[in-house]
Structures are given as structure tokens and as C-alpha cells.
Amino acid sequence: MKNKLLLLFLFAFFIFCFFIFYKSVNTDSSYKPNENLEKKINNFIAEDFFSGDKIESQELFKNNKFYIVNIWAAWCRPCREEHPKLMELSKNQNVQLIGINYRDNKKKAKQFIEDYGNPFSLILYDKKGTVAIELGAYGIPETFIINKDKKIVKKYLGALTDQNLKEIYSTLK
């Protein structure tokens, strides 16, 4: 009787281990960030791309409007693809666009802006990539929607799509 119980227990344990192993093999273990969040922006100090002046994050988002923060670089190919969409967004009066130039060569970044246009009311130069980390970014391009309460309400990973643009317009209404 005792042996049967032990065997049953071992069998159940084996099934349990197999189930956990099977589940872990079929689960994608790569990082999936939460795209719909309500997170306050951390305080950080950044550098103005053109003047080199230091700017505090509290000063950045002081107007009572929506902000779109886009992380970009001249070396990033998807950033080129999404740039026309940012240019389109910049025409909207309800929103202010802030660009974060991520770990880039300033000369090349300036050339990028000259070639494709500047949709941003302000560009921050993030030479070491720390401002992007303070925002919770992990790749580029990445776009954050910040509401009037200074909270990040949505983030888009990768180049913005037409569908993303529709969503952004409906958020801004």
C-alpha cells in the first residue's frame, strides 16, 4: 500500500514537473513592456540639443497639454520611416512634440533634421542614453504619450504605424 502511494506521488510529481517544463518551453521569455500605463514621469536633467543648456524635466512638461516624446537617432533606419508621421503630428495644436536624440553623432543628427524636417518643439541630446532609461525606454524608436497630468499613458515601440497615428489622434481629442 505504502509503495503504491509513493509511486502515485512520484508519478504526480513527474507530471507536475513536465507540465511546468512544457509551459516554460512554449512561453515567449523575451521582455514585453507594458504599453498601456499610467506612470508619473521621473525627474531628470537633460541637455538641449542646440544650445547645450541643462533642462529639468519639470520645466519640460509645464504646459497644460498633451506631449509626445519620441526617441530617435540618425543611425536608426525605422526612425526615418516614421519621421513623416511625426511631421504630420506636429501640425496638431493640442500636442507638443519633444524629441530625444539617443546616443547619436550631433553632426549627423543635425543633418537628419535638415534633410527630413524638424517636427519637435524641443530636442534633448541624450549622449549616454540615460534620459531614455529614466523614461523607461529600451530601444529606438520609441514614442511616449504624456497626458495633462504629466503621466505616461501609452508607449509605442518601433516605428509609428498608421494605426498608431489613429489611436494617438483619438487620445488627443
Binding site: 542614453g129 523607461g136 530601444g139
Partner: protein
């Protein structure tokens, strides 16, 4: 002469304490970095990785240490930014309790079996 010795003593002591605090900062930065997952690399901590993300993250951790944040506060900050996934050492919660409890249960069970066998042999 006495003054000179005094100055030299102060100089060496302050220099020593400065290098000690730099060493401390470096050690805690390394310790924290080893427990932070590099989100864009497969199975690597940011300590081991040389990706842009890992390099930036190490700079941020160093900054936070200089600002006076404790190790736990830095972990909390990163967890708030990127979620629990960023930590290699998961905390005990609803999702991870099996991970923590199962080894203890198995240990106790194994111990009980051994003790029982010894007792039976003695009888």
C-alpha cells in the same frame, strides 16, 4: 616640521577614504548590475553585456548610487520602470511563490524520508 607632518597625514587619510568610497561605489554598482537583466540580450545581465542599453543602465545605476539611493531603492526604481522581469532575483509574490516554496517542500520531504528510514533501521 610638525605642521608638514600634520598636512601629510590629513592628505593621506582623506585620499585613502576617497579611494575607499570610490571602491565601495564600484562594488555596489557591480553587485546591482549582476542582478539586472539586459532586456535586449538573451540570458545576460547588464554586468556582462556591452550593449547600448546595458551601458546606459550601468551609468544610471552609478548616478543613483552617487545620489545616495540604497540598493533596494535602486531595485524598486528599476522595477517601477521595467517591471519585475528586469530583476534576476524575483521577489516572493503570487506569481513566484511556487518557485520559492517548492525547493523548501522538497527539502523537507527528502529530510522526512531519510529520518523515517533511519528510525525504521534503529527499531
Amino acid at each position: 616640521m610638525k605642521k608638514l607632518i600634520c598636512y601629510l597625514l590629513i592628505f593621506f587619510l582623506s585620499n585613502n577614504s576617497l579611494s575607499y568610497s570610490i571602491e565601495n561605489e564600484r562594488n555596489s554598482k557591480n553587485e546591482i548590475s549582476k542582478n539586472i537583466r539586459c532586456l535586449i540580450c538573451q540570458g545576460q545581465s547588464i554586468y556582462d553585456s556591452q550593449s547600448d542599453f546595458a551601458i546606459s543602465m550601468k551609468i544610471v545605476i552609478e548616478k543613483k548610487i552617487i545620489e545616495g539611493l540604497t540598493e533596494d531603492e535602486i531595485y524598486d526604481y528599476l522595477k517601477n520602470q521595467y517591471g519585475q522581469w528586469i530583476l534576476y532575483d524575483p521577489e516572493l509574490n503570487k506569481k513566484t511563490f511556487i518557485l520559492w516554496i517548492l525547493p523548501i517542500l522538497l527539502f523537507l520531504l527528502g529530510g522526512a524520508i531519510i529520518v523515517k528510514k533511519i528510525l525504521i533501521k534503529k527499531i
